[in-house]
């Protein structure tokens, strides 16, 4: 199999749960912090705080990768999730709804359903991982098992098919996003002319009849309403 597994030892007898090394203790502590941050992320009533706690959670995961000597994965985690996904999330929040303080409607009625799904999926994942690796131990003292070279070699030799499949999936998502945004524009421009004509006499859009050019602007009528809801 891949060269990564060469450094895995199956000898559980040389390691024990009762004599943890320093790295293992740190791993556990960081794991607890990550878990706590994740809990706060989903329970806090302040939307932007949730996004910022997500930063702590994802950063904690990156530290866990680092402790497992998977340096490349750790930095990619920070680059993609902390640097881009959370920034995108914050961007979306600020653009739509980012009140300072608690938002009373942030509490979902699906709390218990969400908890059930979360616990079930977590149990499945833990069971799969435990069943797959059992007493396998990663030897952290040897050459780094997750260095860029090792990761690259195993990715492009053993796992190249899943990798390519994933890139096709991403391409499909990209094309889908473009198609959706173009379609939305085309649809919203044609009915908006009709609705503008119907409500043309209402005080909210008094000028729309006098400026025929304005009828082509698709989002003109909806913008003030969105801005009012923003803050």
């Amino acid at each position: 199999m891949s060269p990564t597994y060469a450094t895995l030892t199956t000898a559980a007898d040389t390691h024990g749960f009762l004599s943890p090394t320093g790295v293992e203790i740190v791993f556990l502590l960081v794991g607890l912090v990550t878990f706590g941050a994740a809990l706060v992320t989903v329970t806090t009533r302040q939307l932007v705080h949730a996004a910022l706690w997500l930063v702590v959670t994802l950063g904690g995961l990156a530290v866990e990768y680092l402790l497992l000597t998977a340096e490349f994965i750790a930095w990619v985690q920070v680059l993609i999730y902390v640097g881009s996904v959370v920034v995108l999330l914050l961007f979306g929040l600020m653009l739509t709804r980012a009140p300072i303080g608690r938002s009373p409607d942030a509490d979902s009625g699906n709390r218990w359903a969400a908890l059930t799904v979360a616990v079930a999926s977590a149990a499945t994942l833990v069971w799969v991982v435990v069943d797959a690796f059992r007493t396998t131990w990663i030897d952290l003292d040897g050459p780094a098992a997750g260095s860029t070279r090792v990761t690259g070699e195993s990715l492009f030799q053993n796992w190249v098919l899943p990798f390519e499949a994933l890139s096709v999936l991403l391409l499909a998502a990209l094309v889908g996003a473009i198609v959706l945004s173009r379609k939305a524009k085309a649809e919203s421009s044609s009915p908006s002319v009709n609705s503008r004509a119907e409500t043309g006499s209402s005080p909210s859009a008094p000028d729309s009849r006098n400026h025929p050019i304005g009828r082509n602007g698709s989002s003109e009528g909806t913008e003030p309403a969105e801005q009012e809801g923003a803050r």
Binding site: F72, V82, S84, L90, F91, M94, I100, S147
Partner: protein, 322 residues
């Protein structure tokens, strides 16, 4: 040498560089801008050509009251300057200034990824400041910051990937070890794209739309006073140091030079970094601010295609010479 002592010494040196170089660049900016605009700049503080102006500014900032607006989210408002500043300190650790193991704060295997990842985190500080200030101008500044980061992160990553392809490694010292002089014309498009995208990420003019003072006062930093405001300014100048150092290391050959690469490599690095910093200042004085849509257009229709073309060129040349 003792290991612990060695590490402490390195950290200390990086920290001193982190504290002094941004001030040097700030003072250079005062003087260079002044002379380009036909005036003298600071002349009195410290006696000789106003060399102590920034020290005096620092003392002034420290004396000012640290105001937190009543409607603000206190904790995040106060945390934001640290989040903006600290990443640049971490990045400085990874930039090698000379040949060998001794001339870098910490050798990192995936150096490029580390550097770009941590620099991206710094922008979170601006976002936090923009949101937590409870001020619509700050929020607009934060929004513009985020939009700008999303647009310019991609060309930066792509051009860095091009260099990594050329060198066959993602470690910064490794890239310098593999450097040849003809990389300069080979990667020149990537170098320009990287530098421009970096300027945009630092929100330096002409890409300072997020802090456009004629429109949104000072963007995300509008509500900040005293030391915290000074920290944001320091972050900007530390960012210049980091960007110029990175461009030097990735594209200009770092400690390689026509002569004296053995003992005086670090002089070359510093010289190239200083020239780039001068260009940053020069651009600020020369160009007017881009409009928001022009900013986005520049990135998506010019820089991204150029960086993709650079990657293609790198790949072709790499295959041909092997």
């Amino acid at each position: 040498m003792n290991d612990a002592l060695d590490v402490t010494l390195r950290l200390l040196i990086v920290f001193v560089v982190f504290l002094t170089f941004p001030l040097l660049i700030g003072q250079t900016e005062h003087k260079v801008m002044a002379h380009m605009q036909g005036r003298l700049g600071p002349m009195y503080a410290g006696g000789f050509h106003g060399w102590a102006q920034l020290v005096a500014d620092g003392v002034k900032f420290a004396q000012k009251e640290d105001v937190v607006p009543a409607g603000a989210d206190r904790r995040i408002f106060q945390l934001a300057p640290a989040v903006a500043l600290l990443p640049y300190l971490l990045v400085l650790l990874a930039i090698p200034i000379g040949p060998g193991e001794g001339a870098v704060g910490e050798v990192i295997d995936a150096g490029i990824f580390f550097v770009l990842a941590v620099m991206g985190v710094g922008v979170l500080g601006s976002l936090m400041a923009g949101w937590a200030s409870a001020n619509k101008f700050s929020l607009l500044g934060g929004l513009r910051t985020a939009a700008q980061l999303l647009a310019y992160e991609l060309p930066m990553l792509l051009t860095a990937a091009s260099v990594a392809m050329a060198a066959g490694t993602v470690s910064l010292p490794g890239i310098l070890d593999a450097f040849e002089w003809w990389w300069l014309p080979w990667q020149i498009v990537g170098a320009i794209v990287f530098f421009v995208a970096g300027l945009a990420e630092l929100q330096r003019p002409p890409f300072d739309m997020p802090v456009a003072d004629s429109e949104i006062i000072f963007g995300a930093y509008t509500e900040y006073t005293g030391l915290r405001f000074a920290l944001f300014l320091l972050a900007e100048y530390a960012g210049i140091v980091v960007l110029c150092g990175l461009t030097t290391v990735l594209f200009l050959g770092g400690w390689h030079g026509p002569w004296g690469a053995d003992g005086l490599g670090w002089v070359w690095t510093l010289l190239k970094t200083a020239v780039l910093a001068f260009i940053v200042i020069w651009l600020r004085v020369t160009y007017p601010r881009l409009r928001e849509d022009q900013l986005q257009k520049l990135s998506w229709t010019l820089l991204v295609p150029l960086s993709l073309a650079q990657i293609a060129l790198t790949g072709v040349v790499k295959v041909v010479i092997q």
